[in-house]
């Protein structure tokens, strides 16, 4: 399983960034080996509009199976849903803690976005 986790910095000890589209980094972590790839999301941090759409399209292209983040907006959710990528919202802690919690089967997949669209 490939997990895409929004993060404030670029290592496994990083705090989860509550924002998905405008997170500083998105870490693509292999749930079993904990090996990871860093996606630098800085281009989207200051995007005028559509940051969530771009971030979602990027993790889809990278072959993520699950997105774990704080808040996922409706447009990002729509993209992820289209690509059959599952979403877990309201995630807190460090990236490594999130991977462990995921492996322990303690998360529930979202059935809709948990943040309003904003302009």
């Amino acid at each position: 399983m490939k997990l895409a986790i929004s993060a404030r910095s670029s290592d496994l000890g990083a705090e989860v960034d509550p924002r998905f589209g405008r997170a500083a980094y998105i870490l693509l972590v292999d749930a079993d080996s904990k090996s990871f790839e860093v996606i630098d999301n800085s281009a989207n941090v200051n995007a005028f509009k559509g940051a969530g759409i771009q971030a979602a399209a990027t993790v889809c292209d990278k072959g993520a199976d699950v997105v774990l983040t704080g808040y996922c907006g409706p447009k990002a959710y729509q993209v992820l849903n289209q690509a059959s990528v599952k979403v877990v919202n309201d995630v807190t802690g460090t990236v490594e803690e999130v991977v462990d919690t995921f492996n322990a089967g303690k998360y529930t997949y979202a059935t809709e976005s948990n943040a309003e669209a904003h302009w």
């Binding site: 509009k49 559509g50 759409i53 771009q54 399209a57 447009k75 289209q82």
Partner: protein, 281 residues
């Protein structure tokens, strides 16, 4: 000639000036209320023979049978209104600015024309005045596409007065950009001066000639007049702070109907603007 009435600050008297100027003229005239988020000129004009038209704008629709997921459209779009997921383009219509670039660039003819509703265009008449205004659909984020359509429908060869939206962002610029002259309305307060300065800077960048109406001219301080003097911004009309004027406004009564002595002053205002426009710059 198209005169747009603008201000940085809201609530300075744009609609008062636009409606009274248009109704004073005693000839065929167009009044266009471009404040599509909060139109109010009709409350004073009380137009008759009203017609309403739904205004729409282009948005793409993807033919999923034809789309190869080549990304040409998504890479072209500057507003992220298209993205490619799972080998097929996906549209976010509310982000689309209707440039039709995706429609032009698609080699597979997979981008089809669809439409997003912008709101309503409303047309009505009173005496020799033709009023056109727009009402933005609740939930629509972009005012300029509707403002452009309202102006196109509302102007003709007769003199045209545009009541512009407040502020200095895209809706205001869209409304004033097609005019020949910008008439600012402000009040002599620090807020009035601050926001007028922003609006004036904006209009200077557009290269349009302009003048100033000072509303509530007997309150505040000298800052606005000093600014107008320094900037060679001619003060074309002053209206005092008068409770009777405010009461008439609150009842939807035009200043020129409340006190007919104002009509010649608005006619002079129009004559002064015409004279400024006929002089070589």
């Amino acid at each position: 000639m198209i005169i747009s009435v603008a201000s940085g600050k809201g609530g300075t008297g744009k609609t008062t000036i636009a409606t009274n100027l248009a109704m004073s003229m005693g000839r065929s005239v167009n009044l266009i209320d471009c404040d599509v988020e909060e139109p109010n000129a009709h409350l004073f004009i009380k137009p008759e023979s009203i017609t309403r038209t739904i205004a729409t704008t282009f948005v793409p629709r993807i033919d999923t049978e034809r789309c190869t997921g080549c990304r040409a459209c998504a890479e072209l779009c500057q507003f992220n209104a298209l993205t490619v997921v799972g080998g097929c383009a996906m549209v976010f219509a509310e982000l689309c600015h209707s440039c039709r670039g995706c429609y032009e660039i698609c080699a597979e003819a997979a981008v089809r024309e669809d439409f997003r509703e912008l709101g309503e265009m409303i047309r009505g008449y009173r005496d020799q005045l033709r009023l056109t205004y727009g009402s933005l659909r609740v939930g629509e984020a972009m005012a300029p596409p509707l403002i452009k359509q309202v102006i196109a429908a509302g102007k003709d060869d007769n003199p045209t007065i545009i009541d512009a939206p407040p502020g200095t962002s895209c809706p205001m610029i869209t409304a004033v950009n097609q005019s020949d002259f910008v008439l600012f309305v402000s009040e002599p307060t620090p807020f009035g001066l601050h926001d007028l300065t922003l609006a004036h800077e904006t209009v200077k960048n557009l290269g349009l000639p302009c003048g100033l109406v000072i509303n509530r001219c007997d309150i505040g301080d000298e800052g606005l007049r000093n600014y107008a003097h320094e900037q060679n911004l001619p003060v074309l009309l002053e209206i005092p702070f008068d409770r009777a004027i405010a009461e008439a406004y609150a009842r939807g009564i035009l200043l020129i109907d409340h006190d007919p002595s104002w009509r010649p002053r608005f006619l002079t205002l129009y004559a002064d603007i015409s004279a400024m426009m006929s002089q070589p710059a």
